[in-house]
């Protein structure tokens, strides 16, 4: 018996659960990502080796650039899974809304990148002997908002780059210019909190605005991108 159209939140949850389960099962993806993140931290530590005071000034930038590279590698992967066996067609043929797919992918990416960040942060703190001189609790909203900023546009542009040649390089080409204000905000907010010299408030406001604006834009335009053959 045919049923009515699918409940969007049910679809998002089901898709997210499916993605997490698949990610957990093909552990080679997670393992290589984790190792890559570790390598990035180590390479950065060799390349930039300042004393404790200077480290606080540049750590904000280093940490977020490292996260950015790790995120790009992760983002490229999650759509690749939908291309195998053309399983994305099965989703497109179903009545499930395009936005549910987008949200599920974005949330999955967010969790994935957050895991990488949680693993890379103690290493950074260790190698750079970091200590927050400002209000450390503010680092949490900065991390959450900043990661979402990267992930929401990253998921969108990863879907766009599915329809291009040189898919893996197109994602950073499209993502980096658009992310510049968010990147500036993340880096400066983190530096402000670590050095305690300035307030991170304006940056957090900017990040929130960025997140809201681009989440709405992605949700409005994703269906067009999904159906662009």
């Amino acid at each position: 018996m045919s049923t009515a159209s699918a409940v969007p939140s049910g679809v998002t949850g089901a898709t997210l659960a499916k993605d997490l389960r698949l990610e957990w099962r093909s552990k080679d993806a997670i393992n290589s990502m984790l190792f890559f993140s570790l390598l990035v931290v180590v390479v950065f530590s060799f390349s930039f080796d300042p004393n404790a005071e200077e480290s606080r000034q540049i750590a904000g930038g280093l940490v977020w650039v490292a996260f950015l590279f790790a995120a790009v590698v992760a983002l490229n992967q999650t759509w690749a899974r939908e291309l195998r066996n053309q399983v994305l067609d099965a989703y497109r043929v179903s009545p499930a809304p395009a936005n549910s797919l987008f949200l599920a992918k974005a949330l999955g990416n967010f969790i994935f990148v957050a895991v990488l960040e949680i693993l890379m942060t103690p290493l950074f703190i260790m190698f750079y002997k970091l200590r927050a001189l400002g209000p450390a609790w503010q680092l949490l909203p900065v991390a959450v908002l900043g990661t979402w900023a990267l992930v929401v546009n990253g998921t969108f542009f990863a879907a766009v780059s599915l329809r291009t040649r040189s898919r893996e390089i197109m994602l950073p080409l499209l993502l980096f210019p658009i992310s510049i204000p968010a990147l500036l905000a993340m880096v400066n907010a983190t530096t402000a909190i670590l050095t305690g010299e300035l307030s991170a408030k304006f940056w957090i406001v900017l990040l929130s605005t960025y997140d809201v604006v681009f989440t709405i834009a992605c949700l409005l335009l994703f269906e067009l991108v999904l159906n662009a053959e």
Partner: protein, 228 residues
């Protein structure tokens, strides 16, 4: 337009001068046809005739460059997509999940919360729902059968099957044909693209031949290639 061999009531699917071009390559060159409900149509033709493109256009995956497709009375395929079931040559399944997990997920997409539907479908196509092997470890034939089970999850009125019998052993293929005939008898409209038309000789209502992006002729009998 090549007419149906039946004198039919109102058609369930109508194609009007459908053209689909990929750059300079015209996969469909002005296909006009009507298909009635409750019949099993077999679409035949050489590679590159446009059979897969036709099926994808009916499924809503390929938008015609020009012309229109009317399904169940509407040209907006998206609005009737819950009445469509689609099976393609790639398996459209997740390799790392088991059969039941795949079916449960796709059932959610259609809003079907009933888990037993997936199990029933698997049994109907001859697979054991308790299989814990991931799909990547299935034989090709098993994958095809699971793909069919997925296509009928939402109990669609219209089934679009692209090469469902490729690499399936003869016995299972015959069982699938019997299943399709059964579904047709309950009122479903089924389109099968295949190179193994002989399998469907008893069950099919009409054979449709395509060549170079057009429908060349339709017949109730499967005739040798070339005979008119």
């Amino acid at each position: 337009m090549v007419s149906s061999t039946y004198v039919d009531a109102a058609p369930i699917i109508t194609l009007t001068a459908v053209v689909k071009q990929f750059g300079r390559f015209a996969a469909l060159r002005g296909v006009s046809a009507e298909f009635a409900a409750g019949r099993l149509y077999v679409i035949l033709g050489d590679n590159g005739a446009g059979k897969t493109t036709l099926l994808r256009a009916l499924a809503g995956l390929a938008h015609p460059t020009s012309g229109s497709i009317s399904i169940l009375g509407t040209t907006d395929v998206r609005s009737v997509c819950h009445e469509l079931g689609y099976m393609a040559h790639p398996s459209l399944l997740y390799d790392e999940m088991t059969g039941m997990e795949n079916l449960c997920y796709f059932a959610r997409l259609y809003g079907v919360a009933d888990v037993s539907r997936g199990a029933d479908n698997m049994i109907a196509v001859g697979l054991d729902p308790r299989l814990t092997r991931p799909v990547s470890q299935y034989s090709q034939g098993m994958r095809q059968r699971l793909s069919l089970a997925r296509a009928v999850l939402n109990d669609p009125k219209i089934l679009l099957l692209d090469e469902p019998f490729s690499n399936v052993d003869v016995r299972s293929a015959r069982a699938m044909v019997a299943l399709l005939a059964q579904m047709r008898d309950t009122g479903k409209t089924i389109f099968v693209v295949t190179h193994q038309a002989a399998l469907l000789e008893g069950a099919a209502d009409e054979f449709v031949w395509m060549e170079a992006g057009q429908i060349t002729h339709r017949s109730r009998e499967l005739q040798p290639v070339g005979a008119q």
